[in-house]
Structures are given as structure tokens and as C-alpha cells.
Amino acid sequence: MRNQPAVVLLVEDEPAHAEIVRRHFAERHPASRLRHVSDGQAALDYLYRRECHRQPERSPRPDLILLDLRLPRVDGLEVLKTVKDDPDLRQIPVVVLSTSAAEADLVNAYRHHANSYLVKPVDFAHFTALLDALCGYWLTFNTAPRGA
């Protein structure tokens, strides 16, 4: 349990999918702060406070990264690699949220130390249940080191 509201960075290029996650957080976890970027380069800019993400108040360090894999410019796997190679960022849990259930994607994600891999369900009820479980686990029950 935490005192501070959790910051979640959503890296998602599909606006509709971002909207689904955004709505879910707004309804079920209004206290959490969801930040959305729509490609891999923007995600790295956010994490390293570059470009339009220089201000810490507006771009707080995330407690959880929700990462799509197929992204324009820098793809999701590259973002994952960068985060997990960086001693300062690697403690942030990265949950891959992708439409792909391809074995190669799963293997690659876990090889680069993804903390979890979730396949976007086609069915709405399942999608909602998945997001509920995801938030419950990572934002409510999971305990992370302070300042991580």
C-alpha cells in the first residue's frame, strides 16, 4: 500500500487502445496518475526527461510502465532494453501489453527482463478484468522499494 498516488506510464501508439486504458484508470483508479506517450522515442524522452518532458512535476518518474511492443520510431523492445539496461530505471516494473501472442515476442520480452507479458484480449469483459487484475496486483498489492 502506498501513500503517494501511483504514476503509470502508458506507451501505446493506438489512440483507441490508449483511450480504453485511460477510461479504465479514470473509473477504477481515479487516484492514480496515468501518463500516455504514443511511441518508443517519446517514452525514452519521458523517462530521461528530454524534449517536452523536462519538468519533473509534469513528467513524474513512473511506478509502472505499460508497454506496447509494436511502436513507431523506437519499438517497444528497444524501450524495454534501454530501461532494463539502465541501473537507475531497471527497478521500474515493465508490463508488456500487446496484441501479439507470438512466441518470439514473448521470448524476446522476457529475455529483456519484462516483469510481465499480457496479451490484449479481444473480448471487452476480459479486457476489463485484465486491467482490474493488473492494477490490483501492481498498484495495490505489489510492494516496491522506496524511491524506485
Binding site: H17, I20, S100, F124, F127, T128
Partner: protein, 553 residues
């Protein structure tokens, strides 16, 4: 001879008595009893002497008989056929071996014409040449095909010499000339010769390159196909180390090492390697190297058979590439089609909630998301279908000028060009293309749309469309001063579903389609851009669409 056959010859004693009687009539000596006794003694001694002589003669006769039998056996069982022929080609005598060759009893052959045993195909030759052969057989030979009683053919070589009578005084037929003939069965030798001839034909005329080396791998012989493939003549490679001849500038040293090791070990080798041509170029070969051993198992030579697999290898690489592309395609299609489906189902769920709450603002939003996802799906399916048709659905090729194509593409994209205020310049060139007009048009249409879309914040957007000669080929280009593209993405943009800007419209199939069409005409497409903000130049070739005649212009 007749009297001998009818009665026995008079015995030696009868002949002796007769001789004595005729002699007694001439001299009747008076003999005393003492003398008589001496005479009796002498006669007895003569008798014993005669008996001993007789015995010796019988022994000699036996030996002669044995010798005669031995020579008869030698004659009959010689490994070649012996014949005595008269001037008309009739057999007077033959040995057992010849009789067996033609499947007759030797006794039945006498009096038959040799021609009767010669295959129909060789009858004319035999009849035509026999007379001169008979008259002067020295140094001549006749190769004839004989046929035995069962119809089996055998190849025979006939040589002969004139009969020199051993006992002229006994020759019954006086001085009738006869021919002593030797008939050798050369069927196996002939078959081996033919086989050898066939094999050398194969080696000389096969399209596979063939070489023969000595036990150390030095080339002894190469066939014409090898000369064609490698560019080296036999004279240039004879005596050369085969590894050195096969090796080219790009040959993998490991492959050469493997061949060398096989040669040293007297073992065979099979593999593929990039071999070198005399002119310095390279070509892929499949090489099969086999040791040839003598009866003692010692390697005396190597035979190499190689064929050019460059085309096959290219086809294989192309196929691998196509397979990889297909795999990527399936993966991407499943991903890209699933994505709008997720959207539609999710917002359908929200729609139900929002309808229940009568939240009209959200209902409109839900429906907008669903519509856009459905549209995207529709567009994706249509473009996929179009992409899959490239190269499969062939419309008859037509001639169309480059100018005409570019102008039509500009008309079709006029809306976007006007909206963005792009200043377009078309460099006139009288070049004619031959191909699927609609497909060729798609190239320029897509590229113009793309250029317009990525003009970025360029205040004075320019686009130049043209074609220029580079070496021996025509290179088409579209040069803009838009946002440009980083070198690392320049290959990526032609991939399926690749979009560099998530906010941009489209499915990411446009450039993939262009690439497919360009490749259909055996062309290449590439980008030249020095980086972001410096504009982009798309260049491509269409070797199989550019009309050769128009190149002279």
C-alpha cells in the same frame, strides 16, 4: 589306300620269307653242320636285335600318337576359333572353339559356308571383302558379327594366313589354296569400347563441368563445359593444382581447405563453394569429387563434377526472403487486424454502459472510435488484397509515356498537393514504359502522396519528379524538401505496416506496395536523405518496364 582298308598288310615274317625264297633261288650255299650251328646262332641274335628294334619303334609310335593327341587338343580347345577355308569361303575344318561360338557340332561344320554364320547386317561386307582377304590376308582383319543357332550375336575379329602345306606330298587336294583363319570373340572388348566411347561422349558433352586430376590433385583433363564455366582452357589448367584453379577472390578458405584435406586423405568431397572465373568474377558451384582407385586400392586419380548453382542459390535466397516476408506478413496482419477488433469490442462494451446511462457525449465518442477502427480494418483488408494481387493478376502490358504517367498521378493527388501548397516540378523526359499501366501509376501516386504527407512544417514545400540516366540504366526520382528521414529508417519504411509517425494516416502499406511493384519490374527502390529536416529523395529503377527503343532518345 584302298587295299589297306580291305585286308591286313602282310606280316613282317611273311615279307621276310618271301624275300628269302627269292634270294635262295639265286644262291644255294653248301653248309656244314658246324657252320649251320653258327648260322643258327647268328640268326637268333638277329632275331633278338630285330625284336628290340621293333619294341623301340612301337615306343616311338606311342609317343607320336600322344603328341598328335596333344596337338589335336590344343587345336580343338584353343581360346580362339580355328577354321580352314577354301577359296569360296567354305569351311573345310574347324576347331571345337569355333563350333561352340556358333553353337554347332564341329563335325557338322565341314562343307558349310562361313557366310551362313554371319549376321545379315554384315553379309554384304563379308562377301565384298572375302576375295581380297583370301588372296592376301596378311595384316588384314575383318570385324564381323556372328550369329549362333539361338540367334545370339557375338562380335568376332577374323584374321588369317595362307595355308603353307606341312606335308605337300600328302596333301590330298593337290595344291588347292586354303586359308587358315583365326576367329576371336571380341564381344566383351567391343562392348567395353562402346561403353568407353559413350562415357567419353558424356564427359565431353555434358553441361556439368568435369575435370580429372592425378592423385595429388593436379589437373590432367577438363571437359568443354569446364572451359565454358571457368573461362580457363585445358592448356591453362593442365598440371595446375585443382584447388588453385577453383579458388576465386571470394572463395571461402575453409571450403578450399576441406577439398585439400579430402585430396590428401584420398577421400571424396561434396559441397558448395563460390568459385572464381578467369575474368575475376565469382560463381557458385556444387562440387562432387571422387577418388579413383586401382585394383590395389591405391588412389590414382580424382574425378570432379561441378555444376553452376548460382541461379539455384539466388532462387533459394529469394525464396528464403519471400518466406521470411510471408511469415512477417502473417504476423503483422494478425496483429494489425486484431488491433481494430480489440477497439471495436471494447467500445461496444462501453457503448452498452453509456447507453444504459444515456451518456450521449460518450456514446458519440464510442461510436467514433468504433467507426474509425472499422474503417481502418476495411482499408487494411483492401490494401492487403491489392498488395497480394501485385504480380499475380497480370493485365496486358501497354506502352505509356513517363510524362503521361506522372501527370496523371499528379492529377489524382491534386487535392493533397493543393491543400499543402506543394510546388511541383515535373522534369520532362521522353521515356516510354511498357507494363501494367494501373500498377505503374500506383508507384508515382503513392510516392507523391507520401511526399506530400511528410512535408512537415516546411513553409515552401517543393517536389521534383523526374528521371535521369545513371550509367546504363534509367533512375526515376521524387525529390522533396520535407521532413526527411533518418538514415537508420531508410530501409525500414519499405517494410509492411511500417509507419514512422504514429499520428499519420494510412496503414503503412503504401511504400510496401510501391516496393512490390518496382520489384515486379526487376527494379530497386531506395531513399536518399541526409536526415531529419533535410528533405527526401526516393529513387527507383524499372529495368523491365523501360522500353529499350526509347533509351536512344
Amino acid at each position: 589306300m584302298k587295299s589297306q582298308a580291305s585286308s591286313r598288310p602282310p606280316s613282317l615274317r611273311e615279307r621276310a620269307e618271301a624275300a628269302l625264297l627269292s634270294r635262295a633261288r639265286r644262291e644255294q650255299p653248301d653248309v656244314s653242320s658246324t657252320e649251320f650251328g653258327r648260322i643258327i646262332h647268328d640268326l637268333s641274335v638277329y632275331q633278338v636285335e630285330l625284336e628290340l628294334q621293333n619294341e623301340e619303334l612301337r615306343g616311338v609310335q606311342n609317343q607320336l600318337e600322344l603328341a598328335r593327341n596333344r596337338y589335336a587338343r590344343l587345336y580343338d580347345q584353343a581360346p580362339v576359333g580355328y577354321l580352314t577355308l577354301d577359296a569360296n569361303g567354305f569351311i573345310r575344318q574347324s576347331n571345337q572353339t569355333f563350333a561352340e561360338m556358333v553353337g554347332w557340332e564341329s563335325a557338322d561344320l565341314a562343307g558349310r559356308s562361313l557366310a551362313a554364320f554371319i549376321d545379315a547386317s554384315d553379309q554384304a561386307v563379308f562377301r565384298g571383302r572375302f576375295k581380297s582377304f583370301f588372296n592376301s590376308p596378311d595384316g588384314k582383319s575383318l570385324d564381323l558379327s556372328l550369329q549362333d543357332r539361338s540367334g545370339r550375336r557375338l562380335a568376332a575379329r577374323v584374321t588369317a594366313r595362307r595355308d603353307a602345306p606341312a606335308f605337300p606330298w600328302r596333301q590330298p587336294s593337290g595344291d588347292e589354296p586354303l586359308l587358315l583363319v583365326i576367329v576371336s570373340d571380341i564381344t566383351e572388348r567391343k562392348q567395353a569400347e562402346e561403353e568407353l566411347q559413350r562415357l567419353s561422349l558424356v564427359a565431353a558433352h555434358t553441361t556439368n563441368a568435369v575435370f580429372i586430376t592425378d592423385a595429388e590433385g593436379r589437373i590432367e583433363w577438363v571437359n568443354p563445359a569446364f572451359v565454358r564455366a571457368s573461362g580457363f582452357s585445358l592448356a591453362e589448367v593442365a598440371g595446375q593444382d585443382v584447388c588453385a584453379v577453383l579458388r576465386g577472390a571470394e572463395t571461402d578458405p575453409a571450403a578450399v581447405g576441406a577439398i585439400r584435406a579430402a585430396l590428401a586423405a584420398g577421400q571424396g568431397y561434396e559441397g558448395e563453394l563460390l568459385s572464381g572465373h578467369r575474368d575475376g568474377s565469382s560463381f557458385w558451384i556444387h562440387l562432387l569429387l571422387d577418388p579413383v582407385q586401382d585394383a590395389g586400392g591405391r588412389v590414382t586419380r580424382f574425378i570432379g563434377v561441378q555444376n553452376d548453382i548460382t541461379a539455384r542459390r539466388l532462387a533459394r535466397l529469394e525464396l528464403q526472403e519471400k518466406n521470411a516476408e510471408l511469415e512477417r506478413f502473417i504476423y503483422l496482419v494478425s496483429h494489425d487486424l486484431k488491433s481494430p477488433l480489440v477497439t471495436i469490442k471494447a467500445f461496444l462494451g462501453y457503448l452498452e454502459q453509456d447507453l444504459a446511462r444515456a451518456d450521449t457525449a460518450r456514446i458519440a465518442q464510442d461510436m467514433a472510435y468504433m467507426r474509425s477502427a472499422a474503417d481502418r480494418m476495411g482499408q487494411l483488408l483492401e490494401e492487403l488484397l491489392d498488395l497480394s494481387r501485385v504480380g499475380r493478376v497480370a493485365r496486358p502490358p501497354v506502352r505509356v509515356g513517363f510524362q503521361e504517367l506522372a501527370e496523371e498521378a499528379l492529377r489524382l493527388t491534386a487535392g493533397g498537393i493543393a491543400e499543402r501548397g506543394v510546388n511541383v516540378r515535373l522534369v520532362e523526359t521522353a521515356l516510354t514504359l511498357v507494363g501494367d499501366r494501373a500498377r505503374l501509376l500506383e508507384i508515382w501516386q503513392n510516392l507523391i502522396e507520401n511526399a506530400v504527407k511528410y512535408m512537415g512544417d516546411q513553409a515552401v514545400p517543393d517536389l521534383e519528379i523526374g528521371v535521369e540516366r545513371r550509367g546504363w540504366e534509367w533512375v526515376f526520382y521524387l525529390r522533396d524538401n520535407g521532413m526527411g528521414i533518418e538514415p537508420c529508417y531508410q530501409e525500414k519504411v519499405f517494410g509492411l505496416f511500417e509507419k514512422l509517425d504514429p499520428k499519420s494516416e494510412g496503414t503503412g502499406l503504401g511504400l510496401a506496395l510501391v516496393k512490390r511493384i518496382v520489384e515486379l519490374y526487376r527494379g530497386q527502390i531506395w531513399l536518399e536523405s541526409t536526415g531529419v529536416g533535410r528533405g527526401t529523395c526516393v529513387r527507383f529503377t524499372l529495368p523491365e518496364a523501360v522500353e529499350q527503343r526509347s533509351e536512344a532518345v
